[in-house]
Every structure is written in structure tokens, then in C-alpha cells.
Symmetry: C3
Amino acid sequence: MSALIDPDLLFPVEAGARLIARQLYAGVAKLPIISPHGHTDPRWFAENANFSDPAQLLIVPDHYVFRMLFSQGVRLEELGVPSLDGSSVETDGRKIWRRFAENFFLFRGTPTRLWFDYVLSDVFDITEPLSARTADAHYDRIAELLARDEFRPRALFERFNIEAIATTEGALDDLRWHKMIRESGWAGRVVTAYRPDAVIDPDFEGFAANLDQFGEITGCDTGAWRGYLDAHRARRAYFKSFGATSSDHGHATAETANLSDAAAEELFNRIRRGSSEERERRLFRAQMLTEMAKMSLDDGLVLQIHPGSWRNHSPAIYKKFGRDKGFDIPTRTDYVSALKPLLDCVGTEPDLTVIVFTLDETSYARELAPLAGVYPALKLGPAWWFHDSPEGMRRFREMTTETAGFYNTVGFNDDTRAFPSIPARHDIARRVDCAFLARLVAEHRLAESEAHELAQELAYGLAKRAYRL
Amino acid sequence: MSALIDPDLLFPVEAGARLIARQLYAGVAKLPIISPHGHTDPRWFAENANFSDPAQLLIVPDHYVFRMLFSQGVRLEELGVPSLDGSSVETDGRKIWRRFAENFFLFRGTPTRLWFDYVLSDVFDITEPLSARTADAHYDRIAELLARDEFRPRALFERFNIEAIATTEGALDDLRWHKMIRESGWAGRVVTAYRPDAVIDPDFEGFAANLDQFGEITGCDTGAWRGYLDAHRARRAYFKSFGATSSDHGHATAETANLSDAAAEELFNRIRRGSSEERERRLFRAQMLTEMAKMSLDDGLVLQIHPGSWRNHSPAIYKKFGRDKGFDIPTRTDYVSALKPLLDCVGTEPDLTVIVFTLDETSYARELAPLAGVYPALKLGPAWWFHDSPEGMRRFREMTTETAGFYNTVGFNDDTRAFPSIPARHDIARRVDCAFLARLVAEHRLAESEAHELAQELAYGLAKRAYRL
Amino acid sequence: MSALIDPDLLFPVEAGARLIARQLYAGVAKLPIISPHGHTDPRWFAENANFSDPAQLLIVPDHYVFRMLFSQGVRLEELGVPSLDGSSVETDGRKIWRRFAENFFLFRGTPTRLWFDYVLSDVFDITEPLSARTADAHYDRIAELLARDEFRPRALFERFNIEAIATTEGALDDLRWHKMIRESGWAGRVVTAYRPDAVIDPDFEGFAANLDQFGEITGCDTGAWRGYLDAHRARRAYFKSFGATSSDHGHATAETANLSDAAAEELFNRIRRGSSEERERRLFRAQMLTEMAKMSLDDGLVLQIHPGSWRNHSPAIYKKFGRDKGFDIPTRTDYVSALKPLLDCVGTEPDLTVIVFTLDETSYARELAPLAGVYPALKLGPAWWFHDSPEGMRRFREMTTETAGFYNTVGFNDDTRAFPSIPARHDIARRVDCAFLARLVAEHRLAESEAHELAQELAYGLAKRAYRL
């Protein structure tokens, strides 16, 4: 592959199992990338402008990167993270890059280290490890390449062999960039996904105004329950017209509800008037997951639930820098009782797909695998966020496969806004899965021919089918 | 061994450790089976009739099998699972078998796959993997063998080298099949176990009537606390007369209580009148675990606690198909506070044995191993249900041994009604334990001679002694 | 190394990885020991008297040892554990030793077994495994050696190559032994640590009297909030004058609070009058952790939080034998909400060090690594207590490194009162870390040169810097 990434990266150490892993990997390494859930900016592909300097592309927006540096005493200002109050932060990309380079050793043992090495070597053809000594040379090289045509977003998209990628847009988004992509005639498949948190979560900033705007956009009466549901239906259809095959929901918990129509309507009315009851706001979020599932039965969108993150844990950082600054912390998450109302309602529907993610690994073997291993509507999303790492992905397979099998999982999601790292992330997932399969073969739990089939499924087929891409 | 099971199945991949595992396994592979906790039907051994068709024996009653197929869209009706409302289900064994065979790939990576391959090859001497292509031939072969004398229950029991097996009967059972076995003069050791949920759990269907019947059977006044306890004592003695060495309790939680006699009596009176308070019914179940433990001190029955399953999670499936249809889902389970009342009462008694199981693996290292590693009355049951799998059993050893040691565990339970798979289950447990021990030896944490001793204990000795069989 | 400990103990089984581990270990095996948190008795180093008989040194005070024996039916009286009621217990060291030796097999697979073998072979140069057969000879040999000058505490301290060791003393301790050590002119670095549970926890035995004494010792008015805080400041300074670089807190939970000064003062007043409200007493403990953190900002003491143990789980044992008798059981522990008030107050301070430990391994990847991976004030203590074991330490690295990295951890703590086992404990930790690093190298996740640097940090550098020793 490249100077910084060994061809045997992440394969089993024992020679026989390593050989099996190599062969499995050889069969999937070049498969196209299906990226069914992520956060790249559709504007990149719409405008196809060159990326700006290396630090702005690779460091400033990556919360994995700056949270680690911050934990070791580097200030976010020094890393160029924009402040909300307009107080000054570093803007010199080279200085930010140097700060990162001299602290790159902190990432030893983390996936960020592997992704970064992979990007340096595979995207920018760099052969020397990043360090204080090489910082400037690497910066210059990357800056020089980013200015070239073949490093513009669409060119990279094609070079990365991406067959389809989903971005995520809010319910109120006009999808202009997706429109522009479509109108450009470019063949790259960039689809949107429906993320209606801003019009579902009563605690979302500007919720009431959001509902008003939701009504304006759709021409539905979002002052009433039926009109509000119709507005969702309308937006879902609009998103589908830009390729959406899924909706996504970032609730704090996996709580669902299964109210009668009358009770749901009454609840909506209280919420619409601005309920001050935390209990009611929670119940509304819970009910809306079930409503979304019911709409999915009709329109075929895959429902994704991403619960369990305590967002913006530090009020000081939130106040100064805003959301997504590395202060989202996983919490204990229950699924067995939380999902029951939704499952009671639609869990046995074979044509529905609800993909559940977790930040609480204790739920893998205890709750999620047993649930996904019996409810036809339920599938397991891949190891997510902090667990999207070699050990995390290995634990995911070890703790879910024996009860849910492979076929109730949905392949890999990169879930990233770090576009240049997408091949790295998929490659590492493929390697970890091949290593896992190789162990099963070496322990005679699986035939090698089966492992080859499964490697293809895990790298490509399951994601394509589960997300209907 | 056989065509479908490699001799090195589940052994460590590295050659040196694999050799150690092979040697350890060679010392235990042929040991008799002690099956101290399970759900085979004593009628089989009493009547010793031939088993019916392959699907009815191997597929229809196995919830591991049909839950996976159901999760992938196969309807339970197609699998011949009987409906409660009498609506029609598939009765043609061959069709059910074909449906299973064409979906057999779904089980890749699961223990069901290993057990099934083992049964095919070891019990029925089949050499080709099951698939749509081989389905009919395998069905014919198995059907043909099942009709032979040497495939009748007692013959298989002997061929399986079962030294002792425990079935499980409710407190109201007349144990007629056990009686018939005894009177037949057959030498096979089939014992019962006392499972009094129906007369202990106020939420059990028909609880009040059950208590009445409990009184009639025993001649005790089950309208009063003392009479009710006497009825238990009488039934325990009756079960002991049919070989029982244990009682078993499937409460939803591990909650115990330690009420004064007066408080317990008062509680019983409220329960007997049909208490509507969930709190009281819970407290009664909790108190009864402690009462059972106190009786165990007197009569020597080993007390088993199997908590933590949310039974019949899907009301729709429960309504249509009833219990045990794969919709039992593990939940978070506390032991440290839950067991304290019972342990306060009898935990330091060296002559009492309380065996605790869990579906919540997080309790292994945090709660159960520390508790079993100090309370003489407490032992750890093996990895249970969804965790009775290669990875699950490995995690059990890795997370309990360092604190509880090996000698506070009780060997393997197959916990199954799938009689033909019993040798497979014990064999796989022995392999996993030998693999674990081999790693300890290869890492110089244990001498090889000690590992041989331990392999014997884990495969045979611990179960025999802990269950007093 | 020695007859009972293989040179490759705990290294990976595969030859290539084992070779890497050996080389990493060779670079750290002889490094001095930094023991920044433990419970050795400073009197040993002050008086430098010979240790008494082998059983009193190695068995009677070791709760890992007697809890296992007790779990298998050996009575604490037989092991010489002193009773509170003065009832007779075994006092013949040889008899205690024999009882232990004949049950030594129970420790197979436990860290106690490894530590004990290590002590026998490395400290006492014994070459035959302990058993009933060798019990007497080993006892004689150890007794004979303990009588020699070179086995007195200071000689062992020097032989063990301890660069610095911290003991733990209560806030009311006069530190006389530390004074005596200092005045003796001996060069061994034995420092204290500030453990104020007795004057912070309203449920601590004699709390009110403790506060009075706290006032007398410091000359501060501990009847008032400000005086009480000043008393802490004074004692912290006094402890610092005897080398303390840390405080330590053994609360039942990790709960913290962040009250206003006025609210804290009011709460203190209610507590001082003997509040009967559990809620208030909990809140006071919670607030005091934050107060200690604020003092740490001023005086530089490192704050250690050791939550999650249900102390004295058996009332019968507690009544008869008192504290620390092996009946402390881990419980589920929350950190994300519990630590938030303290982190809101001081979490982003780069000059503060708060080291958090856990007995709940589920918090490693879910809560602690994400928290320590972003808050500059927070570091992760090593695998603790029941988890200070080869599998436990491996899990710690596997579950924390990918999110927190290595540099947000603090090296190894032995946390022991078993002085002779200190080299064993550090050696085993170094081996486990080298094995983990070797795997990363063998899987090409880390360069070998980096692993050498990290091995040094994990064995020595991180502890020295984090604890400011």
C-alpha cells in the first residue's frame, strides 16, 4: 500500500491466520465504497472548489483531533477552532499544523493515528511519519497538492471509488447543494438523509419557530398534529427526490412510545403551546420515533437511531465554542424497554428497517444482538463514534455475531465529515472484519469459502442492501 | 471426529498453544457427561419411543433456530411453530427442513451452526454441509435413522455417555415419567429438579388455583404461611425421592428479601388474598428465594437462580404463539444489593450451595466473581443462554477466573431441550475451556499438569460435586 | 528470573510478538519503582524492625488471600484473622501457613498465585511450588530469612529498587512515623498522602468528634465552614511537608457537587449539627470532592477518587472481624453525570490533576476514556483492585487507549499493603503493558521505537509526572 501503512496492518499475528486474512482482504480491498451515513458537506461536491489549507481540511474540523490535544493542555484557540464570541483564534494554518505535528505522538494507539497515517500516505503520497521535524515539509506538500485539479472534491470522490455517499441534512434544509450536484450532470452519487431533530425535539433551539418554518416550506398546518405529520411526509418525499433512503435521529435516549392517535394529538398540542414538562417533551420525542417508523413503512426510508450521547458536557466550552467540540460523552443506554413501544407497533414488519446504534458496548451482547436476532425490523448499526476503532469493531463482532449473526448487521458507516479519511476508515473496517473472519476460519468455526462471501457482504453487500442504495 | 467438525475446532491458532489444547482435550473428550440443569422431556426416557421426523426433533422446538429465521423474514408459521389460536401452520417436516436448510447460512458465526454441524456429523454421520442442495438427502437420512432402535432416546442416552441428567419439573408435576423410568428398571440416571415458579410467583398464570392444588397434593394448608412452607418441604422431599439434587428459580430479577417470620407471614396473607400491589408481589418472590435457601440448608438441595430475562417481549407473538418463542430478552441485572438479604441470612454457610447465573455479562467481573470469591454459599453458574457460545464462554472465564478462581464455578450446564445436541454442547464447552487453559499454560500462568487437573474439573468434577450428583 | 516465574510470563504466545515483548520488557524490567498510591505501613520504614513470622507477613493481612480461602469453607479464625470480640483465632503461624499451602491450588488462574510465586522465588529464592508437601520447608526458609538484616524493611526497600513510595494517612494522623523516617536520615523516599474520609464523610464513625479533633490539631474553628476549609488547608500543607503530592478519597460513588459558597456553608452547618438526611450527607461528600479539587489548584496536590465499592457487604463478618475482610464488592458506578459538577468547576484547568479509578469496567470505554480524552484536569488511574490482574490490565488498555490514548493514563499503582509483593505487582504490570504494546507493533499499529518509548512511560515516566514525584 504505502510507506506509512503496512500491508498487514491489523491482521492476526499468527502466520496461518494472517495468510487467511490477507486472502480475504485481497478480495474486498478494491470494492467500491458505500457510505450510507456520514456528514460530508454536499457543497463540496456541488461547487467542486479546491480545499483550503491543510489545517482547515484535516485538523480544525476534526473533534477526535482537537479533543485529544485539548486534554493534554493545548488550547482550542491555538488549534484555530472558531470561537462564538469572536475572540481571536489562530488562523495561520501552518502554525496550527505544527502544533498538531509536535503532539502527534499523543495519538499513539488511537484510530486517529491510523487514519492520519493512511491519509498522509495514501492520499498525499507522503512517506515519512509526521513529527515536529517533518511538519513543514508535509504541510507544503499537502498544500501544493490541494491546489491541483485532481485533488478537488469530485476528483477525490472518484479516486476514492465511492459508489454512493449519503450526507445528512436537517428537515428545514432546502437541499440546494444536492440540487446543484444533480443539475451539474456529474455522475457521482451523493444522496441526502432526513434528519428532523430540529422539528422533533422540543428542546432544540428555536423549536417553535422551526415548526412555523416547517409549515411554510411544506404548506402544511404545523399548528395541528395531522398537518405536522403531513409536513414530515412532504419533506421525506422531497428528500427522497434527492436520493434519500434513510432518516436519522440523534435523540439522547432510545426511548420510544406508542400512543393512541388521540393521545398523540393531545400531546402535540401541549408541546406546540410550549410544554414546560420535561416528561412531556421526552414523551413527544419518543412518540415521534414511532411515527417516523410508521412513515418508513409507507415510504421505505430506513430509520436510524443514534442515541446515548450527552452532548456539550462542558458548559464553558459550549458557551465559548458551541456544539461538536469533543465534549459529547457516551452514557448508559437502555434498549430493551426503550424500544419496546416502537417494536410493539412495527417490530415484526419484515419490510421495515430500523438500524440502531449504541455508544454503550454493554448493550451489544445483552440487548441489541438478542433484539436484532429476533425482530425482523431491527438491524444493528456498526461500532459507532468512539467505538469505530480496531478494538471497538472487534468487540462489536465478538459480542454481536453469536446471537444476531452477520446478516442482522449492516456493514460499515464512516459517519464522518473528514472527507479525505473516508477510504482510510473503510479500509480499516475491512481489515478488522477480515481479521475477525480469519480467526473464525483458523479456529475452524467457518469454512474459508464462507468467509470470502461474508467479507464481501461486510464490506459492500450488507450496507448496499440494508440502506437500499 | 467427523467430516463437518475439525479435530482442532476452537483451539488456539498458534501451534504451541494448540498442541497444549489438544493434549488437554484428549484427556477430557471422552469423559461422561454430567448434565445437571436442562429441559429434556422425561417422557422420552420413560416411553423410549422413536423420535418423530427430523424437523419436529431438530427445528420446531429450538428457539435459537426459529428466532434467527424470523429475524430475517421467515414466518413462524412456515417453520411449523404451533399457533395458540389454531390457525394453520406448516406440518410437512420436509418443507420445514428445506426452509431451514436454504437459510442455514444465516447461522454463520453462531453456536447453533456449530451444534448443528456437530449433530449432523456426529449423531447422523453426515459428511456434507447442510444447504438447499443437500436438504432432502439429509432429511431422508435422518428420518431413516430416527426410525431405528439405536436412535431411540435410551440408546442415544447411552451412546452419548451421559452419567446423569436433570430435567426440570414444576412443583405441581406428578413426576409420572420419572416414576415410569424408575419402574422400568433402566439404568440411565435421569433425575428431576424442583421448579416452583408456578406456586411462588403471584403473577404466574393461575397462581391462586395453583396454591390450592399445591395444598391438595401435599395435604398441607396452603391458605396459611406455615402450611405453605410445609407444602414446599413436602414437594422438595418428593422430588428428592426422584433424584432431585437442586431447585431452580426463573425470577425476572435476582432480588431477595430477609423478612422476619411475622412479616413474611403477613405478606403471604396479603398475597394469598390476591395483592394488587406490584411491590408486594415482588417482595414475596424475593422472600421466597431466601425461604428456599433456608430449606436447602436442611434438605441439601442446591439452589439455582436464573434471573434477568424479559420474557415474551413481543405481545403480538406471545398472543399468537405463546411462551418460549425466542422473544426473551436479557436485561441489566443487579446482584450486589439484590442478593444481599439472602446472603445476610445464609451466605456464609459452607454447606449451602446457591448457584447464580446471569444474562448480563457486565456483572461477571464487577459483581458475581467478587461475591462468589468470598461467600462460601455462592457459586457461579456457567455462561448462560445467549452467552453459551465460544466467545461467551471465553469471556466468562476471562472475567471471572482472576477473582473467583476456577473452584467457585460449577462446570458446564447445557440447559437445553434439544437432546441430540447435548454431546455437541458439552464438547464445545470442553474445547473452549481447554483453549482457555492452554493460553494460561502458554503464557506461563499455569503449569501444564495443573491445567490437566483443571480440565477434568471443568469438564466433569466441578459439576458432579457442586450439584451433588 | 527465577524457578517459579518463567522469563516469558504473560508475553504473547506467537513467536514474533513474543520477541517484541521480550525486547520491550528488557528495556523496563530494571527501572526503579514509583509506587504513588499504596497502603504500606510507614512504621516499618521508621522502626526498620524485622518482620514477624511468614504467615503474619504474607497471609493474615492479605484480603485477596483469605477471601478466597473463606469462599471455599476455610474459617477466618483458622487463618488467624483477628476477631473484634476477642474470641480465639489461630496464632500459630506455621498452622496458618499450612492451611494456606494445602489450599494454594484454589488460586490457579488468579493474580494472587502469580504474586505469591514471584515473592517466593524472587524475594526468598524458593524453587519449588508451594503445596502441602513443601509447606513446612518453605515456612522455615522464609522465617529464617526474615530474621536477617537484609530482610528488614529498609533493606528490602532498597533491594526492590523503589525510588519513591506513598503511604496513606488519615487527616488526623500525626505522621509520627514519617517524622521518624525523616529524622533517621535514611535516604529512602517514603511520602504520605492525605486521606480525609474521616473528616469529610458524615457517616464515618465518630465524625463529629473527628471534626472537633480536626479543629484542635489545626487551631482552626471547625464549627464553621471557613474554619473547616482552613483546617483542610492546614493539614494538606502539613502532609505536603512530609512529601505528600496527593490526596485520596474513598467515597462510595463518584458524585460531586458545585454549590455556591453560601449554599455550601449552609449545608456544612446542617451537617455539623448532625443532619439526619441521607441526601444532605451525600451532597456534602459530593461538594467536598469539588472543594478538594479547588484546594488542589492552589497547593498542587493530585486528587485521587476511588469510588464504587460497597464496603463490608456482610454485616456478620463486619461485626465479628471489622473492616477490610474481603467483603467489599464493586457496584455499578456512574461518572458522566457524577463528575460533571466538579468538571464544570475545574475540569478545563490544565494545571490540575484529578485521577479517577473505577471498579466498574463498563465505564472504561463508555465514560472514563471519553472524559479523560478531553478534560485536561482528568487522568485515568490504572486497573484497580479486582481488576489489577493480567486480564483486567489488558482490558483496561484495550478499552481506554483508543479514546484516551496512553498519555491520559498515569502508569501503575500497586495499591497494596503487601510490601513483599510490590516488585511482583509492578513486574506483572510491566509485562502486561509490554505484551499489549507488542501486539500493537506486531499488528503494525505502532512502530517498535514508539513502543519502547511508551513502555518506559507506562513503567515509570507517567507515574512520576502525573503524581509529581
